[in-house]
């Protein structure tokens, strides 16, 4: 793809998206991510006279970290071992241990697929898991998704990013801009963006030009060596779209190939034959899609790409982006912490866009381990990051949480068996994922979910008093206090409070004639409460 020496004309660069001009003012690159995060977040809080929420205890921190890294709640045995551990380095060790588990990559791939694939599709998950396992950076993942490679199995799957949208190039253009560059330019299709002077029709059609020669041929994405876009502005004038990136940088390209009727016929016949043979068409010598990769990662133009990655990963971990909404990274909507975003963007591109490194740093900060309950009077708005945000679980996390929390906890006591037993239990409940919705911004739980848990026959098994269930174990405990402690620790991964002891004991006492039913109902109430549904 580097065959052509490109003459790149840089138009006016928006100041916002320029790489940090005063790099010397940023914290030095050798600062750790966690130090940089805490430095910038606390410095900003100081300007608003905002105090941080207290740090969480080991119980909450273990649960939160496990959910974020490997997508499940801890077992009682894991909770007790972690709390009893007196090693001052135990948190770092925990994070590094969890990141070596296969579930770490699995969950990251699942979440990224939910972001990148069209709603309801899982086509990119396997590819993403393979890429992350091979420590591919986000730049290479992006290149596989946009340009692909039909010679190898995995990059071929990555092409589903384009392939699933190939019949609607506007949608493909928008999805690429929004998901990889944090820029939703769909407004600029029909007119210059009304709020954002930097986004014009020229930008939309410039971005669309990277895809306009691509088309679907059989199961494969193919690209022609010719084809241009004309569009009308609001005055009705016809304009030629340039091959132009969001920054305004324009790519000079070779003259399009001109085919006479005969050659076109031949091309058509060849494509038909390839379709029949189920083979991909060869890429043109000059690929516009390949040019998008080149320019998006180039030194003067890579800010959109790197900042979008940082913002999306930040949002995933902290439950609120440095820029919100996530696809509105534009000058009229500045980040809450511009220096921090600059620093993290620099860190990520100087470290090969390594996602594992970024996640690890974000999780190890003190900002991450703040309590989600704010102690003081007025809870600061989310953009101060002075408290942890409560995050709704993904369908997969919630299915795993329900699976583990409803199981007899003793099943996971034996450390030699625990790993495989946990995996089996979680995998057996994958089907439950389909009952829940992937949470987006402003996610709301539907009443259908509440009705399902309240009245559906299929949920009954989770709460019943049986040997393999939590209910079965609780029924064998004589003392109400011990029963409540065991139940709360199993479901919420922490000790019970006095209030819970009282309320639940009273519930049992009122049903002394039907203790088993009472226990089943208590398990129901614990499993359906918000404390299990959310990562806090």
């Amino acid at each position: 793809m580097k065959k052509y020496l490109l003459l790149i004309v840089s138009l006016v660069l928006a100041g916002y998206m320029q790489p940090a001009l005063k790099a010397q003012d940023l914290l030095p690159p050798e600062t750790t991510i966690e130090q940089a995060v805490d430095h910038y977040i606390q410095a900003e809080q100081a300007t608003g006279n905002i105090a941080s929420a207290p740090q969480v205890d080991d119980y909450i921190l273990l649960r939160r970290t496990m959910l974020d890294l490997i997508g499940r709640i801890p077992t009682v045995a894991e909770v007790e071992a972690y709390v009893a551990d007196e090693d001052p380095e135990k948190r770092v060790k925990l994070v590094d241990h969890l990141m070596q588990q296969p579930e770490f990559i699995e969950q990251l791939a699942y979440d990224l697929n939910n972001i990148l694939a069209p709603a309801g599709k899982t086509d990119l998950e396997l590819y993403l898991a393979d890429a992350l396992n091979n420590r591919k950076g986000w730049d290479n993942i992006f290149a596989d998704m946009i340009y692909g490679n039909y010679e190898e199995e995995m990059p071929k799957q990555a092409m589903q990013f384009v392939n699933l949208r190939i019949n609607d190039i506007d949608n493909l253009t928008n999805a690429t801009s929004a998901l990889f560059f944090g820029v939703n330019i769909s407004c600029a299709k029909c007119h210059d963006h009304p709020l954002v002077s930097e986004w014009t029709q020229a930008h939309f059609y410039g971005m669309k030009s990277f895809f306009n020669r691509s088309f679907s041929n059989g199961d494969f994405v193919a690209e022609r060596a010719y084809g241009a876009i004309k569009y009308a502005n609001t005055n009705g004038e016809q304009l030629d779209a340039k091959l132009m990136f969001l920054t305004g940088s324009v790519i000079e390209e070779p003259e399009p190939v001109v085919l006479d009727d005969e050659a076109k016929k031949k091309e058509k016949a060849e494509l038909e034959q390839l379709k029949k043979d189920k083979k991909p068409a060869p890429a043109p010598e000059f690929s516009r899609r390949a040019q998008l990769i080149e320019i998006a990662l180039r030194e003067n133009d890579r800010d959109y790409f790197s900042k979008n990655l940082v913002n999306r990963m930040w949002n995933r971990i902290y439950g609120h982006g440095l820029v919100m909404p996530l696809d509105q990274m534009h000058p009229e909507n500045p980040p809450s912490h511009p220096d921090l975003l600059d620093w993290l963007a620099r860190d990520t591109y100087t470290n090969d866009y390594n996602l594992q490194r970024l996640v690890r740093g974000l999780i190890l900060s003190k900002t991450y381990s703040q309590h989600s309950v704010y102690g003081g009077e007025k809870r600061p708005a989310k953009f101060w990051f002075a408290t942890a945000n409560v995050k709704p679980m993904s369908p997969r996390q919630y299915a795993a949480a329900l699976a583990l929390a409803s199981r007899n906890p003793a099943h996971f006591d034996d450390p030699n068996e625990a790993v495989s037993r946990i995996q089996n239990e979680v995998k057996a409940h994958r089907g439950w994922e389909r009952k829940f919705v992937v949470p987006g911004e402003k996610f709301q739980v539907s009443v259908d979910e509440a009705l399902l848990f309240s009245n559906a026959d299929e949920f009954k098994d989770k709460t019943k008093v049986a040997n393999d269930r939590l209910g079965g174990e609780l029924a064998a405990i004589e003392s109400n206090e011990a029963l409540v402690q065991r139940a709360i620790k199993t479901v919420y991964s922490r000790p019970a409070t006095a209030e819970e002891l009282e309320a639940i004991s009273a519930y049992i006492a009122a049903r002394s004639d039907r203790r088993e039913e009472a226990i089943s109902q208590i398990v129901w109430a614990l499993l359906t409460s918000s404390e299990l549904r959310f990562n806090h």
Binding site: G48, I50, D170, N171, N174, A178, N184, S186, L195, M324, D327, Q328, S336, P338, S372, V373, Y374, K378, R379, P380, A381, K382, F383, W384, N389, V390, P392, V437, P439, K442, F443, Q444, V445, S446, V447, D448, E449, A450, L451, L452, S454, N455, D457, K460, E499, E500, A503, I504, Y507, R511, E517, Q521, W524, A525, T528, S529, S530, E531, F534, H536
Partner: protein, 432 residues
Amino acid sequence: MFDRKIGVDMSVNTDRRGFLSGATAAGLAASSMNLDILKAESLSNELKKSGKRVLLLWLAGGASQLETWDPKPGRLTGGPYQAIQTSLPGVQISELMPKMATRLHNTAIIRSLNTQIGDHGGGARLMHLGRRDEPNLKYPDMGSVLARELGRPDLQVPDYVSFYTATEGRGNAVGQPGFLGARYAPMFLTTDNKPANLSRLEDITDLDHKERADLRALLSNRFAKGRVSESLGSHNVAYGRVRGLMSSEKLFDLSDEPQKVKDRYGKSLFAQQALVARRLIEAGTPFVKVARAWWDSHGQNFETHLELVTELDHVMSTLLEDLEERGLLQDTLVVTLAEFGRTPTINASLGRDHFARAWSASLTGCGIKGGTVFGATDEDGQHVKDNEIGAAEMFATIYKAVGIDPHHEYFVGARPIPLVDPGTHAVDEVLA
């Protein structure tokens, strides 16, 4: 510069209005201002909207305007059926609607819809959303908007119920809360006239079911205290609605409806669902949609319409009479609508094809100036001759009829989204 002047997180709130502010107006810098606007607007309109309801009869597949509201007798395009004189001087409708012909005094007929989209999927989306789709912004459909605007927080009944039993075109019948959030999603009934998971399982008593929910609420509220999140609020709101919704289960059960009333509506599924819809409306459900499929008569148009229009005429007139007798019609707007009409030109299979250029709809009851006809098509019904309107005007008229300002704005981030596309207005000629 990032604007930090609204430094306190106000996004949690489980009451209805507060919920909206969380769901739609949480754009950071602008949120405080937007909240005030919304509050002022909602208070002034609260009285006008209170107790208003909408019942949509969705004629899925596209009913023919020529065999219903806009006959062209004696023309080549007119087909075999005649027109009959209605109770309104000078107004004729198809002879397939003799019952409606005698009771148009609460009804306005609109004969000038030009909605342009002639495929089922696209047309149905347009006539559910009132506007074209936009990538990356999911609009709520009419039902979700009405559920939000007309519903009340203390309502013990569902606020958006949608019946669609046939399989043809079901996927086109959009029921999406979009940016309003899942709180306003429809209860969507397909295989059964009863919603799923509404009845208690036998192995728990009603008292234990209730007290179990109370224990859950106690545990969950303890957790929610001091934490702030719209999603968290919605979780507990959803569970809080369960018992109320369960108590509305009897509304879906016609066994306690007097036989006389059941006989009056008739035995067809459409008739029974219309009766359930009336029960829901009576109990306070602000929006019910009953879909009747499948009107897509590319062949044998006249047989299809003989059957379906005759049924529609009976069910609709019975429903209107029933609502009127119960004193509900003045607060209930009954709408007939489809994704489009059908071609005046009759094809070789004696069918009529998709036609979005000049077709009809009807509005009856709440807020409507009865006995009016708005707009007209030319003598063959090929084009709109007078007062052409599109989907946005139709939606604006529906909203205004039930006391909702069609230009009311939601905020998605900082972006204002009016209920209908800017520059479009309600058809005041048909409004009381």
